[in-house]
């Protein structure tokens, strides 16, 4: 194997240092015995134990997961539909306007999105709680889903759908039996993206949450303002662990699929 030049070694270490030193420190201090965050007093897992006793954090975690699951699911359905119309709808009145507007929330400052949603909910007299956060998260994550799904649909061979129609499918059956199974990976990654966006959203959630429902990011943020406690380090470490496991699983699955497909293709070439 080639030895790396000193330049590459330095840039690699710098890059990783910038990315991971803060997280490594956080993880280390989550196992700190001391209540003081910055002073090391020996290894302990007691903060994890205390975290499990903390009703407020557990509630917030539960709310966050509920919101993420519901909002990403609704956003996936709506976003996929929007993407389908934009790619397949042909020319209809207001198409350009529609496609421009669907991506607008991507660049819209979150504060503005949050504020406008808050005004809307007050205007229609909707009490702020889990429902309003779900609606708000659906609103902003839908466009991400539609970007992911429409980029897949653009490369989708249209004749597959025509073949399905030709073989006796109604347009709805063609979508369910042919289009959806084929674009499923894009739909799933759209869902995962929406899920992650919802998990770590602070700004929009703080506008649209009520006293009855607080999400984890809001909880952490407000707790940190009163001082960083080792409990929060423990909580963050758990979140990092979950995300890491998720990312590794996804990449392993993808890699496995690629390897299998390559093997299949080689086999096909031989016969």
């Amino acid at each position: 194997m080639n030895r790396m030049s000193w330049f590459n070694t330095v840039s690699l270490s710098l890059g990783f240092a910038f990315l991971y030193i803060p997280m490594v420190i956080l993880v280390i201090f989550s196992f700190n015995e001391s209540k003081l965050v910055t002073v090391w007093a020996g290894f302990s897992t007691k903060w994890y134990g205390e975290l499990m006793q903390n009703e407020a954090f557990l509630n917030a975690a539960w709310v966050t997961i509920k919101v993420a699951v519901f909002s990403s699911t609704i956003a996936t359905v709506l976003g996929t539909m929007a993407a389908y119309v934009m790619v397949r709808g042909g020319r209809f009145f207001g198409r350009t306007l529609f496609s421009g507007m669907i991506y607008a929330p991507l660049v819209m400052p979150e504060v503005i999105t949050g504020l406008s949603l808050l005004l809307l909910f007050i205007g229609i007299g909707l009490d702020r709680g889990v429902l309003t956060i779900v609606l708000a998260h659906t609103t902003f994550s839908m466009c991400y889903v539609s970007v992911v799904v429409s980029s897949r649909l653009v490369t989708f061979d249209r004749s597959l759908e025509e073949a399905a129609l030709d073989l006796g499918c109604s347009p709805a059956e063609a979508f369910r039996l042919v289009t959806l199974p084929i674009i499923a990976p894009a739909v799933i990654s759209g869902w995962l993206l929406a899920f992650t966006l919802s998990l770590d959203d602070l700004v929009i959630a703080s506008f649209t949450s009520g006293p009855a429902a607080t999400t984890l990011p809001i909880k952490i943020f407000s707790a940190v303002r009163l001082g960083v406690s080792p409990e929060i380090n423990a909580l963050s470490t758990i979140m990092i662990a979950i995300v890491t496991v998720g990312v590794i699983t996804t990449s392993l699955v993808t890699k496995h699929q690629m390897v299998r497909q390559k093997r299949d293709e080689q086999e096909a070439a031989r016969t």
Binding site: D157, S159, L160, E162, A163, A164, L165, D166, L167, G168, C169, S170, E173, L177, V178, P181, I182, Q261, D264, E265, E267, A268, A269, T271
Partner: protein, 375 residues
Amino acid sequence: MTLPVFEPWNDPEAKPLIEFQNVTKRFGDFTAIDDLTIGIYEREFFALLGPSGCGKTTLMRMLAGFETPTEGKIFLSGQDIAPVPPNKRAVNMMFQSYALFPHLSIWDNIAFGLKREGQSKAEIETRVSDMLRLTRLEKFARRKPHQISGGQRQRVALARSLAKAPKLLLLDEPLGALDKKLRQDTQFELMDIQEKTGTTFVIVTHDQEEAMTVASRVAVMDNGKIIQVATPADIYEAPNSTYVADFIGDVNLIEGTVKPTGDATYALHWREGAEPLTVKTATGFSDGQTAHLAIRPEKVTISAERPDGADNAVEGKVLDIAYLGNISTYHVELPSGVVIKAQTANTRRISRRAFTWEDTVWLSWTATAGVLLAD
């Protein structure tokens, strides 16, 4: 004993399976199909041939139901099919890209249309295994489309479109993605399957050799219009226009003015001072009309001396030789600058070739070898 000839288009009693009546299709300002009327008969293998953008694919997509005519009517077995959506038509299509469903096995691909029809499990089993046997794919039933070769995929696409036993099968450039050798084998396979199943086939192609090989009749299209519909032999030997003559195969076109010399014989004055060419044709031409003589290179004989008693003979110099192995095409330049192609079969080895570059040769052909075409 005479073999029964399959020529329903010459039978005034026969009713066409498909009828286009004054069909026009416009996309915005662009006219893809221009006032087209044609009949296609049952059990025919009908080829639509033309350059890309001539409207042949649009014509086929209207039959499948993916496009509706702007004007005019299309009848399938006497029924106007304009309001019938593609999934309700007794028409199946084999797509240019094959459009195999990548997430389904070969077996499921073929069974797809049958399942939509709501047939019983046993019926589907039987039909799919029939189709697999017909296309020699039994071994691959459990594979996915990306696990088989291009030629096998093409056969799956064919099996899938035939599974529902359609009245009419549409083939959109079905062999475009195959290499030449495989394409030739598959052409015969297609003809074989068409005969076995008795299905009417309409094939779209830009490959004239393919159209000539497989089709019972060929329609040559250009700019949304059908220029000529005839059997492959008629299209080749008796084209009705210089466009068809030029599009199908190789041809020499000689322009001149016609002078009748009696009994369906005409003299073509093609160059000042040169001997007029003699042409025999049943088509009437008037004195002084301009026309093209279309003559195929293989009907032009090349010789070192002026042949005795030839109807037409011209002298020239060999400019170029295209050696294709089995045949050679000689490009012969006449003193006037006109280049005429003559083709000969290479019955001797190349080292014994009679003519070479710069040789003076004589080209000759009979009065009936060429076709005289009015402009």
